[in-house]
Amino acid sequence: MPEKPKVAFYWCASCGGCEESVVDLAEEILGVVNAVDIVFWPVAMDFKKQDVEAISDGGILVSLINGAVRTSEQEEMAKLLRRKSALVVAYGSCAHMGGIPGLANQFDREQILRYVYEESPSTINELHTRPQTASPEGGHTLTLPEFRSMVRTLDQVIPVDYYLPGCPPVPRMLKAALDTLLSGNLPPKGTVLGPDTAMCEECPRKESKPADLAYTAFRRPHEVIIQPETCLLAQGVICMGPATRGGCGAQCVTGNMPCSGCFGPTSRVMDQGAKILSAIASSLSAKETEGIDRTLATIPDPVGTFYRYGLPGSLLRRKIADHN
């Protein structure tokens, strides 16, 4: 029997949803398991790092790595898998663009550690103890990975061949991606494995979107009763649909919630947040500074709204705090 292609799954800074989405393949997963040899999948199977090291360089056909990269351990594993794999797929929003963990790039390392280990309301830490990369304990040295200064996308750490977008990716697209990669008929490197038009294209509410939106205020989903058939932007609720790659089947919008942008921008766009901002900013009703300010003040968390999944991969990347 010829050897089956080897596939590895790995997770970096992520929530576990991406792993779930693999399981969401449901009975299709059996087909996958039949077709490939899973050589590494910490969440589901008991392989160790040494097992990966034992594989010859390039011996894995494809590693699907989810999660952003924040710690030295994640970086080390990403680099190891890169060496061992012919192809690396950045799986899900965090690996693709930094994801929700990437929002931490609004604060620097010191701010984060100080808050989490000292200042947060649920913390009592009179000795100001902070985690150490090495601490002696009973004659041994215990080690922890290093907490790096910022969250990076996978391709800011290792070369990435393909991207599977989504928070998490939809099983249908995972299936299609695996079929493509196994077929050997490979798309150009750097391709995001999904459609390349914006979400609105597949949105059932598209035709109800008026051409002239004249905003005086924006509203967050909990502040309005969202009408189920009208374009959300027309209801004053920020929908990232126009600036977000389609392919999800308009899941959020169908669930009566706005698109929050997890599929990232289309291939032609460098900065998803900047793009939706320029579209929305041209639709404000006010034309003078005070009115514009008043309208924009109704978006209390602009970074979390426009860069929810993509801060590290955007042109903004991170905030450099000043410590005075």
């Binding site: 979400m199 598209k206 921008p265």
Partner: protein, 679 residues
Amino acid sequence: MPETNGHDAPRVGFYVCHCGHNIAGIVDVAEVARFAGTLPNVIVARDYKYMCSDPGQELIITDIREHRLNRIVVASCSPLLHEHTFRVATEKGGLNPFYFQMVNIREDVSWVTENHDAATHKALDLVRAAVRRVAHHRSLATKHVRIHPDVLVVGAGISGIHAALTLANAGKKVTLVEREPTIGGHMAMFDKTFPTLDCAACILTPKMSAVKNHPNITLWSYSEVSEVSGYVGSYTVKVKRKPRFVSEELCVGCMECIDACVYKEGKTPDEFNQGLSKRKPVYIPFPQATPQVVLIDPDTCIEFKSGRCKKTCVEKCDRNAIDFKQKEEIKEIQVGTIILATGFKTFDPKRIPYYGYGKYPNVYSSLEVERLVNASGPTGGDLVLRDGRHPKTVGIIHCVGSRDRNTNRWCSRTCCMYSLKLAHLLKEHSEAEVYNFYIDIRAAGKAYEEFYDKLLEENIHFIRGRVAEVTDWSARPEEEGKMIIRVEDTLIGVVRRVPVDMVVLAVGMEPQADSQDVRRMFNISCSTEGFFLERHPKLAPVDTFTDGIFIAGACQGPKDIPDSVAQAGAAAAQALSLIDAGEVELEPNTAYVVEESCSGCKSCLNICPYTAITRDETRQKAFINEALCKGCGTCVATCPSGAIRQNLFEDEQIFSEIEGLLQEKESVLTGGGAWRAPA
């Protein structure tokens, strides 16, 4: 044209111009050429004294042939000046002209600093950017649009009349649209005109009837443009023709109906006479009105109000011209070019309460006085005040609503001169003592200063100073029953009180009240004051930023009749040159929607300042009309999914240019993120 080798590896020819000492005096041009020679893809790099000269252009042409160049970069002056020159040279060398990129190291570099090192350094950065950019240039085709030979002229004051006649005499068909019942504009209200004091009617009415009778002119008075669409060479215009309730075809202007009206006396303030007389519901603005057709004002006509008038007017008209059922009509025409000559409005003197207009009956605006001294005006030229007296002293206050921080800052340019004219006419009509209160006398025009000199000899008094107040608060017996003008005479440094019987306010010229609506309809711009904005204050004074639309006369800024007529002629000539060329070339810097990338999200539909974007509702995709697009780039920035691209401003071109600029420093655009340059 031989197709170019744009797909081969770029072979760049680079040229830096000395511009005499303009550039070479500050920028080390030899260093720039040497540096350019070290950049990737650059095959030839030269410096030359005047690149725009024939030998300079010849350098480019021969280099293209000898070195098989396929990209050209010239570092010299502003693209506005010579981009075309060098594109032509590039084309003569056998390349598509758009394989050219210009770097402005004069206006942007040598003219803005005296620091040689900084200048040279900046020039090198800009050159590096351009060399990187030009590699991404593509071959483009210049587009041509046909020019419809018919012209629309809006506004029939002296400017519109002159423009229409000039075009009609050149054999072009003109539609002249005037909003009032008669043409003539402000000039028709004047008795005489400065500085020659020739009678306004004598020089204007022949032109008015020429308009009416010209076979090439369609005159639509009492009409307004309601909609404009299209682009240079092909505008579709809708005109609303308001009902006169009198047939223009049947009425001969005998005015018998006016006499026959059941109203024995007029009851409505006469607009043309500035409210100084009353008119009936059926009226004609003035005897020489053109067209010579009466009209009925439905707001005051009894038949319209109650339906129970005896209609003596209808009885009297033996041509059956009166038609109470006439309806507003919308006409549609096609034209290739448009001239706007919508004129000005006068400043409302009520805005300066301390000059007493509206409070003291004998304070007049200059326009009212134009009617008062007019032989065919409300008093037949008899200078009789609102209280029935004849004035013995008159004060003319200059700069009312001009050169004033609180109202309008600009000089209205005509009021000094018309004040001199009115001073002369008032004296002629009344023998009164006439005082002019002025800040400066602005008499800069042919024979204007001489006119001023003549007035000085006519015993007219001139007091230099901005008037503080007009009051009836008398302080001395000789001031009783008079208005007192309080002013600081700045020539002798004393505050004076001048008692007068009549005050004339020389009101300034302002944009029409609806100038913003009109500018929006025709897609042109206004300057901050609200006058229509010319394309260039010196070199394109009657062009606008919208191709095929020209401006003439006082709608562009305060001016007198000679200047208005000169502009009207210029605007007609500009239109003629377009029409006779037959077609125009369009810069191919237009935007286009990549249809398969468009999600149909509609974000772009309303943001185009030139309304070039529409949506194909069946395909649910956006579409840009190339002929309308001006390449402003707004939609390109707006499209949230990057489905709109713009020729000459493709992302790769812009980003490679930025990268070139920042190359010395850390590159901010590369090294990370999911973004991939499109393959």
